[in-house]
């Protein structure tokens, strides 16, 4: 794992001291709320419906057991005993007191964590494929470059006051697990014909009220040039991005207003200019130094067949189902990647209690697992697990309520906090996720349905990624009543697409039935092993629309 050097440690410590002083000045009246608000946002502190909310960065989604224990401690000591993992690999606490936040940040700094740049019009926490360093299909671990980008973008003077927030994701495999094409900028590790590794750079993707799939602005950027190239993208955006209208201020609007070709031309011009100066070349030895931090653990020379694993599969149907669904192929023989679902049937997607966080840290120590990952799908991942340890790990996870077998299935639902917590929301998201999860609880049925990603947002800002859901649900407020719009055919993977709205919204008590009718339509009409998404793409919306609105009085 990356460890802070003396500069990182001093920088974070100074920022906590600064914020402590800012809070004191706010409480003494030296600062007004208008003056204080941007300062608290720069430190990840929002004021939500019920209380303040602190968003803590989990860079590229990687946590150690020690950090997990600290999050448990914060949940227990300063909050209400739980945390909420977000769609950007962060964790949020929903009830901190302003007066406690400097102490929380001090505690976080002791485990090399912070809440910087988790809000505001800056480059936010850099996210990455949650299977980084473990996936069998990976070209290269995306986290070293994510860390390099994090260092470059932290307090970058030129990019601290961008037209709007800016989100960067990095992926290292052809299978996109990081929703790359829905980011302001994404970096995909690729190989060229000569077998060299470099970066494909996308810009202008995003969700929100105007969703776009990102465009390639750099086909193959050399490793040492990546910061110069990203700086070129940022300069074009910083100079030409709109500041007059908050709804048109993201880079996606600029890229699509200019057109991808013109955007490329302007980026290339800036890039050439920066390259002439030569100041932003990343030294190869620095890349190597940072890459060393992310070196995989020393894998034991194991056979891929594990008798302990097979015996448990034969003896225990629950284990068999869980291992079928929640395990992914690891690059090393005899190892597996474990998805720990934070979507228990009827539960709140992404929530974890302090007891669970502590117990997971103990489990990591017990089985020599150095890292745990937060996924943008609001689950946790143990990236490097010996197959022979899986039965014991499963038993422990089951005791903790963390062994739900549903990764990638219809009950593995992404949902934003919605109107239950969020100041911006128009409708609740979590209860819809809960009711859907209960409706589709039967595992046999879930497995029959297969891969199906439902994503729910409580407002147009789309934190619940509804545009990228195979089934997307958007909560809206119609004269004080919650309604839910259904979208079909979105994807956040390498085959990225934006879902299409099916028709008028459904009431709170209608939406679950409507989703079930859509799923039933798929089951009737699918061909062979076709996924839900593929059936929607093949048939279009019409058959789904017909069934979803069956019995409605209006003409569709």
């Amino acid at each position: 794992m990356y460890r802070y050097d003396e500069f990182d440690a001093r920088f974070v410590k100074e920022r906590v001291a600064q914020f402590r002083y800012q809070v004191e000045r706010r409480l003494s009246g030296e600062l007004t709320e208008d003056e204080f608000k941007p300062l608290r946002l720069m430190n990840g502190l929002y004021l939500q419906l019920h209380a303040y909310m602190l968003r803590i960065a989990v860079p590229y989604g990687t946590l150690s057991a020690r950090q997990l224990r600290m999050l448990a401690h914060i949940a227990r000591k300063y909050d209400k005993g739980y945390g909420h993992f977000t769609t950007r690999q962060n964790i949020q606490f929903n009830w901190p007191k302003l007066v406690d936040v400097p102490d929380i940040l001090d505690d976080l700094a002791t485990v090399e964590m912070h809440a910087l740049q988790t809000s505001g019009n800056c480059i936010r926490n850099v996210t990455a494929d949650h299977f980084a360093g473990a996936a069998a299909d990976e070209i290269e671990d995306p986290r070293p470059i994510a860390e390099i980008i994090r260092q470059w973008s932290s307090l970058h003077p030129e990019f601290s006051y961008l037209p709007r927030k800016f989100k960067i994701a990095v992926g290292g495999a052809a299978h996109d697990r990081a929703a790359l094409k829905f980011h302001d900028v994404a970096v995909e590790i690729v190989k060229n014909d000569a077998g060299e590794t470099g970066y494909r750079v996308y810009a202008g993707g995003g969700m929100g009220r105007t969703p776009y799939v990102g465009h390639v602005v750099g086909d193959f950027v050399a490793k040492t040039d990546i910061l110069a190239f990203l700086e070129a993208v940022m300069r074009v955006y910083n100079q030409s991005g709109r500041r007059d209208n908050i709804y048109k201020a993201r880079i996606k609007i600029l890229v699509n207003a200019l057109g991808p070709e013109e955007m490329r031309r302007q980026v290339e011009r800036e890039f050439a200019e920066i390259k002439t100066g030569g100041t932003l070349e990343v030294p190869a030895e620095e890349i190597a130094r940072i890459t060393d931090y992310f070196a995989p653990p020393k894998f034991e020379p194991l056979s891929d067949a594990s008798p302990e694993f097979e015996a448990a599969r034969n003896a225990d149907a629950n284990f068999r189902a869980w291992s079928d669904i929640n395990l992914s192929t690891h690059r090393a023989p005899g190892y597996s990647i474990v998805t720990i679902s934070l979507k228990p049937i009827g539960g709140v997607p992404g929530d974890a209690s302090h007891e669970q966080l502590d117990a997971l840290a103990d489990l990591m120590d017990q089985f020599g697992i150095a890292e745990i990952r937060v996924s943008h799908e609001q689950n946790l991942v143990l990236p490097h697990v010996r197959k022979k340890d899986l039965p014991a790990i499963h038993t422990r996870l089951a005791e903790l309520g963390l062994a739900t077998a549903n990764a990638g299935l219809v009950t593995d639902i992404i949902a934003c906090p919605g109107l239950d917590y969020c100041d911006l929301a128009n409708a609740r998201s979590i209860p819809i996720a809960q009711r859907l999860s209960e409706r589709f609880a039967d595992l046999k049925r879930q497995r029959d349905i297969g891969e199906l990603k439902i994503k729910i947002s409580g407002c147009i800002n789309a934190c619940g990624h509804h545009h990228a859901g195979h089934i997307g649900i958007l909560g809206v407020d119609k004269k004080g009543v919650e309604f839910y719009q259904l979208q079909l055919g979105g994807s956040g993977a390498e085959d990225a697409s934006i879902g299409e709205i099916l028709g008028p919204g459904f009431g709170e008590h209608e939406i679950v039935d409507a989703v079930e009718r859509v799923v039933d339509t798929y089951l009737e009409k699918r061909e062979g092993s076709e996924r839900f998404l593929d059936t929607v793409r093949r048939l279009g919306l019409e058959p789904f629309k017909e069934r979803a609105y069956a019995g409605w009085a209006f003409h569709i």
């Binding site: 706010r26 409480l27 003494s28 009246g29 709320e33 004021l47 939500q48 419906l49 019920h50 209380a51 303040y52 209400k80 009830w95 901190p96 007191k97 302003l98 007066v99 709140v348 109107l419 239950d420 917590y421 929301a425 609740r428 979590i430 209860p431 809960q434 407020d477 004080g480 009543v481 919650e482």
Partner: protein, 105 residues
């Protein structure tokens, strides 16, 4: 059209808790909040809240509409119902957990 009765709310600066105006100070339960029957009285108290903002007691004061039925205050907007009670998905949290306040949304 006559305006609906209104209530003045804010968040407490130190801890962010939701508070309501009652007779020149702030209470934590919607059931205890003062109801203003018309715009002039509501606007006057919103202005009076400025002193509490300057005094660092509360932030972001604003008015919202309510209906009174059988002596019970019910906010018009769901947002205010949830703010008054707590997350609908966690009845053990927020003001509802104190047994003072619970609404069916």
């Amino acid at each position: 059209m006559a305006s609906l009765p209104q209530i003045l709310t804010a968040n407490r600066l130190r801890d962010g808790d939701v508070v309501y105006w009652r007779g020149g100070s702030w209470v934590t339960s919607l059931a205890d909040a003062e109801v203003f029957p018309d715009d002039p009285s509501a606007e006057a108290v919103l202005k009076a809240a400025d002193a509490f903002v300057k005094g660092r007691e509360v932030v972001n004061p604003y008015l919202f509409d309510v209906r009174i039925a059988a002596g019970e205050i019910k906010p018009v907007k769901e947002r205010e119902i949830i703010r008054a009670a707590g997350p609908t998905v966690r009845p053990d949290l927020g003001k509802q957990s104190l047994g003072k306040w619970a609404y069916d949304v």
